[in-house]
Symmetry: C2
Subunit: 203 residues, 2 copies
């Protein structure tokens, strides 16, 4: 594309980021070239620090600066509930709601035979271990509302069948808050009727 | 957004790239966290090399690994024609067409009073100097077909008025190749009629 090898190399590197093509990568590279050396150093340093100091929480596989992540370490959180999610971004999304005070477990993916991802590729064994060791009352599946998400939940559910006192739940599927009924698809609307919630005047 | 300062810092840095918000920046950061240390080192090194070794061509303000860029250095190129462009990306676009064999001059922007960019902020003086020193036959304006582009072209055109032997041209405005007439806007269609090209059976 261009005669400058160093430029091409940097474009290649940026183009390896998810969702970035060579045109956008070139835009980034030309932008960095315009910045002063200090700013670029800060940019580089932030990536280096990230890679050096951030690791996986040994308990829940969330990202962490220490052995355990901030959530696992927080004594104020309810360690009796574990919310099972696909990836770290899901934790961020649930934390942003401020509606959950338990712990998490990141599977690192979802069972998807089409993509060659089986149960052994996910952090399912470490989840089962956690449930064996810790006193856990409830497991919440917060997985995508797709066939893959349902399969993954069902697979783990079957593994936990012998735990009679454990409550196993899944996040509610239904119409989005603020959405009109007429624009909701049939499957979602159907689920929202089947899983209707009793009206509570005191709420 | 998240408790990890290092993560936040890296997200801030990526979010400073053009067109990237914090959500996409987070996606990049989590992606980099998943890669192995060597890959991240290569990524960092490519940015560092870029900033250390690539500079501006002292003649045409294109990017370059040496004092002069590959295009200015190329003896096969016609140094009698200078194509005036807004930025480096425009050079890449024109080079990709393989239809031009002259030199370039990067203005580094376009006259835009709304954004506070005047003629003195652009590399116009160095263009006039080049024309004084080198034997230049033709100047081609390859600027955006906007009021700002036309203003910039006209400003430089006026500065060159005294050069009687210099040909000053601008790239053709007209309908896009492969486009239907009915979908072309009136202004463009009007320009394409006014600037019609004589049909040549031998072409």
């Amino acid at each position: 594309m261009y005669n400058l090898k160093l430029l091409d190399k940097a474009v290649d590197q940026f183009a390896s980021l998810p969702g970035i093509g060579r045109k956008t990568a070139l835009k980034f590279v030309l932008h960095l070239l315009k910045r002063n050396a200090n700013e670029v150093d800060t940019f580089i340093q932030s990536i280096r620090d990230l890679k050096t100091h951030i690791r996986e929480c040994s308990c829940c596989h969330n990202i962490s600066e220490g052995e355990l992540c901030d959530i696992c370490n927080d004594p104020k959180r309810d360690s009796g509930i574990i919310c099972v999610v696909e990836n770290i971004k899901d934790i961020l999304a649930i934390e942003a709601t401020s509606q959950y005070n338990g712990l998490y477990h990141v599977l690192g993916g979802i069972i998807s035979p089409m993509d060659g991802i089986g149960p052994s590729d996910l952090h399912i064994d470490s989840l089962l271990e956690r449930i064996d060791k810790q006193p856990v009352r409830e497991i919440i599946f917060a997985l995508s509302a797709t066939i893959e998400g349902d399969t993954t939940g069902y697979y783990i559910f079957k593994k936990l069948k012998n735990k009679e006192e454990l409550v196993i739940s899944t996040i509610a599927k239904g119409i989005s808050v603020g959405n009109d009924l007429e624009y909701t698809d049939e499957l979602t609307l159907g689920r929202s009727i089947v899983n209707r919630v009793r009206f509570n005047f005191n709420e």
